[in-house]
Point group: C2
Chain length 304, copies 2
């Protein structure tokens, strides 16, 4: 017996869109990934993209409500849904939903955090993943690796505060557009090079080298034949991911003992290797955390 | 009365070549800059480039010795001159000169430093500038801003140890190839944005934000209208230059009270603004520090 469709849930980001047909209780009945991220929708025809993705589900179940999180609710998206400020739980995000008239679709707001120095930080879409990963209303540290990695302190199911680390994008820019990439050979993951990068990042704690300095070692270890050229790319990756972990520990004001990693399998595997090396227990969130989080937001808003 | 020509001195780097005709005592008689850095010499015809640059001086003063420092002595240059290891003074560099047969030209070695963790660092060409700036054989901290900024501890005229910071290249890669540049408007220097970046970098001391995190503020301050778009580029520049200063202070194990800045006028001005803001006295090295340093190396080697 399959539950009747109850919600169309969309995780609609910058480069891709993941769509879920969900049944009563939050079960995922069907899902599909589309290359229709907001920067890839031609002419900004979001209504057309929405029909292409959800049209068949709507036709089969007329009146089905739809909820989308992610960059679709940003200034560059379909309609801006202003940020909910930390600490932010399901209730705050549900209160901030913005309707797209005539589409029976609502957009979830992102979440913002203003730090002690008045500097803002933002997320859009990750909040749904966090609500899915912490569906039991528990507490912990969520890590969402990526272009802009996010670390969030979750307390009783609410996002207390969070920080963005530009790890993935810095890696791409530094390996593709500086002298560092010149010595790299191949793109295969090299476990030894990665582990060495993580270890060098850990020297930060001892005051031995800041990041602007340490980056140069991805060149000099190659120049002095202290690392094989096919290990250098993974070395830089390990250095940056390790650096993120060190920065995050300082941000948390303690070394984390356990974290919940939310994200794609390949990148999460690298993070899990780094966490293991640093003695941090890393639990993997369920693969459809975003869908479950969207379901919970919809429930809090009375949509389902 | 003009001194008779005694040396052809070349500061031959990656992108440009600065040539000096020097007289007895180390006076600069003539100088010229050529777009003949080692990556720009077609087909690696360094002999042809050398003749184009120094041929007229040679013809007027047959037998004039020539000395070149910089990337011309690297593996990618004309001939490799292996690094002199720190601590390195004039004597060590003079001992490492490598001859180009038939050209009456010698290449100066670069200088290397292996840190406590076994990680190498390198410079090529900066050592001549340092020997020129510290021609009195004194002690101090030399700062050479640039694509790869160098900080060196100089003791009795010798380079005791040094560190590279990839500040300039990281700025170019991050502003040109990440989301940060999207909000930038214009390339004019914005003093207020720059100062704010330096101030935010200084929060590092208080454990408030690592670099991978702090970089994202160059976007969020714009998103939240907390900084005008025409200030964001200078904000990122101030953040990175300020970060270099904080990292270097940790590397020196003390806040520097005074530094000698060696480098081009425009970039040095930004560094001097950052040093002033952080309470560090910055003295400018003479403009022709490289020429004087080359002269001193030539003298130590008995070439002049």
């Amino acid at each position: 017996v399959t539950a009747a469709p109850a919600l169309i849930a969309l995780d609609w980001g910058t480069t891709s869109l993941r769509a879920y047909l969900m049944g009563a209780g939050g079960a995922v009945l069907q899902s599909a990934e589309h290359p229709l991220g907001i920067l890839k929708v031609e002419g900004g025809d979001f209504a057309g993209a929405f029909r292409a993705v959800a049209g068949a589900w709507r036709a089969a179940s007329p009146g089905l409500p739809a909820l989308a999180s992610g960059m679709i609710g940003s200034r560059q998206g379909w309609r801006e849904a202003p940020y909910a400020e930390c600490p932010a739980g399901l209730d705050a995000v549900a209160r901030g939903l913005v309707e797209i008239p005539g589409e029976n679709l609502v957009l979830a707001p992102g979440v913002s955090f203003i730090d002690a120095d008045g500097v803002p930080d933002v997320m859009r879409g990750e909040e749904a993943q966090i609500f899915g990963a912490f569906a039991d209303g528990g507490s912990g540290i969520a890590v969402l690796p990526g272009t802009h990695s996010k670390w969030a302190e979750v307390e009783g199911g609410r996002i207390r505060r969070f920080a963005t680390f530009m790890t993935g994008e810095a890696f791409a820019a530094l390996s593709g557009h500086t002298i560092l990439g010149r010595l790299f050979e191949g793109e295969a993951f090299d476990a030894g090079g990665f582990a060495r990068g993580v270890a060098h990042a850990a020297l930060k704690q001892k005051g031995r080298g800041g990041l602007l300095h340490r980056l140069f070692s991805a060149r000099t270890l190659g120049l002095f034949n202290k690392a094989p050229p096919q290990a250098l790319r993974s070395y830089l990756s390990g250095l940056l991911i390790g650096w993120e972990i060190e920065e995050a520990a300082a941000w948390l004001r303690r070394k984390p003992l356990e974290v919940t990693v939310i994200g794609g399998a390949q990148l999460s595997a690298a993070y899990r290797a780094a966490f293991k090396q640093r003695g941090v227990a890393a639990e993997a969130a369920p693969a459809d955390a975003a869908a479950l989080g969207l379901w919970r937001i919809a429930a809090a808003a009375g949509l389902v």
